[in-house]
Structures are given as structure tokens and as C-alpha cells.
Amino acid sequence: MAIDIQKIRSDFPILHSEVNGHPLTYLDNAATTQKPQSVIEAITQYYTTYNSNIHRAAHHLSSLATEAHESGRRTVQRYINAEHEHEIIFTRGTTESINLVAFAFGEAFVNPGDEVIVTQMDHHSNFVPWQMMCERRQAHFRVIPFDENGELQLEVYENLLSEKTRIVAFNHVSNSLGTVNPAKKMIDMAHKVGAAVLVDAAQSVQHIAHDVRALDADFYAFSGHKMYGPTGIGVLYGKERWLDAMPPYQSGGEMIDLVTAEKTTYNKLPFKFEAGTPNIVGPIGLAAAIDYLNTLSFEDIQAHEDQLLAYGRERLLEIEGLRIYGNAKEQSSILAFNIEGIHHYDLGTLLDTQGVAVRTGHHCTQPIMAALGIDGTVRASLALYNSMQDIDALVTAIRKALKMLGR
């Protein structure tokens, strides 16, 4: 059954606003998504009725807040099908999740001469932390290149893998190209040489399959704000056996068991990795976002987004001189392009004056831009509430911008 796009749009209050005198056409969802009313209400309700610190106080509000926060952990656990609740660690976002693993896994398992593999299409946040860890641990940093269609060169990956490989990190969906990487296959290949795998799911968890056990991912990182939840809350899933063997990332309150001047022992999972007062409301808002997604059928969401993406590509390619970056066999949610002779910043700015929100620039993926020999693109990125009319508005706005730019 197809999703009811008008009903969905009515759930997101911001979609009815105007920008620069035009109805908002929001196509910057890979940067952040808008929030449904239910998420906004869950956050408001927390602050108006049971705001309190958690896990400590013996008073009523604190137990309400603790229960809601921890219930959020279970909602996330079910959403990604993790085996244990304590395998869900709350962070500030994907970036912190990856930094946590790069630090703590590096400390525990990476030694001089070992190797770490990432890809040429990773976001800087899944590239630089590994590079820094390799410098710190005197390990070798290896990069899987992509081909002219924006697909990873798996034969190069195969050759890079060896008994020296400690960990492989890659994004399931590229934020700049929209490529859906063959995650299961890449994980199986890494496991054959005994390497662990971190999947950057920031651009996939809201769009495509997100079952960590089906993937057999060792680590899985994503952000709340890109999946209709609030900002400042992210998730790191890790298999229990890895997390148990890794040292804490930050220290302070909450993460300890016993503290004496001689020695401190650490709390159990997940608290070992959650030092200090956490973002208490974050998981509450995130759980409300997941509950919202669960009111829809994920197959329907995917079918809708795939249909939009195909329509978007078709309409954009009608524009003379327009080139789309990212032509992998399997694509998700991203339309990245340039138009011959037109600077991406000019186009993005003129789209904004017409109420169309896109992103321009290198999208935190300079290695991709270097490989393509460009300094940026215009990127329209889709979410479940986008409609065919949004695509039409984009194309109309591009045509007007081109006229203004003398084309």
C-alpha cells in the first residue's frame, strides 16, 4: 500500500512554512531532516512534566525520566535488531560514535604495523578519526577507491584485506553520491580475515535496511537528527564482546564502578561509555521518531523514496548540460549534480531565493571531489515527506536560476 504523502506532510509543521516568499521545498535532508509533531511534543512533554537527572536520584521525576530515557534505548535496540540493550550506546551523533570506536578500539586492538581500511567515499567523520588513530597507533591507513559510476572497487578491497587488517570502516550510503555499498558482502569479506567492521549508517538507517544482526556489523553508527529525531543524540551499536574488551573513551561520572585514589573500576555496559550526565531528552525524542517511522511500513517508505529518486533523476537530466554524480546500480536518496558553466554556489543561492533548500559544496567529502576533479556539487537529498511536487519545484527553480545566470 502506498504511503499517504499528504497525511505525512501534515505531520511535519515546518513543511508548511514559507521561505523568501515561497512555500518551502526542503531538499536538504541528508544534512538534517525535519521533525514530526510527535517528536516535538515528546521533547516538550519531557521538559514541561518530568525533567530530571537520571540514574541517580531517589525521587519520582527522576525515575520517570530514567524510565523514558532507557525505554528509548530499547526502542533503538528493536529498530536495528540488536541482540542486547546494553549494546546501544548513546552519543552526540555519528561523528562521536566513530571517534569513540577509533579511539577505544585502537587502544585495545591496533598495534604498530597493523592496517585500517576506509573508502574514498567516506565522510570526513569516517575518514579523519581513523587517520588520526593510525598516526597514534603507527598503523597503516588504506583507502578503497571508487570507479566512474561511484561504486567501490571491491577487487581492490579484496587485495587490501589481510591478516594485518584490524578494522574496516565504510558508509552504507554515501552522502555525496548516494551509492548504496554492498555492506553485507564487505562485512563478510572483512570477517574472513578476522577484521572488525564499522558501518557508518548516518545516511542509510532512515532509508534502507538497518538490521545489524542480518548485516553482522561489529559497529554501527548513526545520528538522531538525520532520521526525524532531535539533534545532539546519536547511537553507537557495538557487539558486546568488542565493547567489553575496549577501554572507556571519556571518564567522569556515570562510567565508574568504584573510585579510590589507588584505582578506579568501570561501570558495566553501556554506562562504561557514557560518562557524565547524558543528553537525557535525546533518546526520548529519538524514540518518538522511531515510533513515528513504525506507524508506516518501511517497504512503503523505501518504495516511495525510490520512486522519487527515479523521477528526480529523469527530470534533472532533461536540463541541458546537467551532470549527475553517482550512477551506481543501487542508489539511495541523493541527487548530486552540476550544470556546465554554472557554479554550484550561484545555483544553490538562487534556489534558496525561490524557497528551495539544497546544499552546495564538497559535503565534507573532499576525497570524493578530488577524485571527480571538481570542487563541489549541488545536492538535493530526499526524505519520506518529499513529493513529486518538490522535484517539480526544484526543476522549475533551476530553470529560472539558469535564466538569471545568463543561460
Partner: protein, 141 residues
């Protein structure tokens, strides 16, 4: 030559005839299209202004205590913004450039509207011009 303030007032007046931002961008694009492209030998690494999504070149000369500027960009809008800065600053005494308060951004509402000033590099250009004016005023090469 007119003063920096008089030139700013001209810009404020020009913009007052263009109430819609679409018209203002069209005007900036026109300014960008009209500006002479920078000669290749001035498109050096040294002349690139960092901190912009587009590439901006800013060529600076100090002649008899006056700041002379040339600029170019691969973005027409940014080139138009650079044209405004050149109109106001180029040929002015270095002391005046240093002391100038760029009121036209606030007066035209450009400071509010061009929220991604980091992206268009406008602030970076102004900083570079001011820094150069300080050197020029102090007679440094």
C-alpha cells in the same frame, strides 16, 4: 574620488530600488558579469582568499598610501559581491579603508540575508582587505 561613505550610500540607494532579493541577486550577477576578469598572472595561490565555497582571487597593491584592488571568482554572485567591495575600497587611502565601517551590509539587509557568509567568503575578503590596508598604511611592502 568619492569617500568610502559616499560610495556606500550609493550602494544603499541602488539596493533600495530593488526590494526583492531575486532582483538584488540579478543585480549582483550583472555586476559580476561586467567586472573585468583578472589577468592570469594575478590568479596566484597567494591571491586566493580561503574560506569560500567558490574560488576568490584578490589582487592587492599599495601605491602612494592608497589601496588598489582587483578581484575575480568562479561564482558570479561572489564576483558581484567582490565588485561592491572594490567599488567602495579600491583607490582609497589606506587609513580610510582601515577606519571604514561597512554600514552598507546592515543598511541593505545583506548581513541578514547572506547568512552563509562563511560560504561566500565575503567576511574573509573584508578581513584580507583590512589587513592589507594596515600594511599599506604602515608603509610595509
Amino acid at each position: 574620488m568619492e569617500s568610502i561613505q559616499a560610495l556606500q550610500n550609493e550602494i544603499i540607494e541602488d539596493f533600495s530600488f530593488l526590494p526583492q532579493w531575486e532582483e538584488r541577486y540579478a543585480y549582483l550577477i550583472e555586476l559580476g558579469q561586467k567586472m573585468e576578469p583578472l589577468i592570469e598572472e594575478y590568479k596566484t595561490e597567494e591571491n586566493i582568499v580561503r574560506g569560500c565555497q567558490s574560488t576568490v582571487w584578490l589582487h592587492r597593491e599599495c601605491i602612494e598610501g592608497k589601496v588598489h584592488l582587483l578581484a575575480d571568482s568562479d561564482s558570479l554572485i561572489v564576483k558581484g559581491l567582490a565588485a561592491l567591495l572594490l567599488k567602495v575600497f579600491s583607490g582609497q587611502p589606506a587609513e580610510d579603508v582601515l577606519a571604514a565601517d561597512l554600514s552598507f551590509f546592515a543598511e541593505t539587509g545583506m548581513d541578514q540575508h547572506l547568512s552563509s557568509q562563511r560560504a561566500n567568503g565575503l567576511m574573509a575578503m573584508i578581513e584580507q582587505i583590512k589587513a592589507f590596508a594596515a600594511k599599506c598604511a604602515a608603509n610595509e611592502p
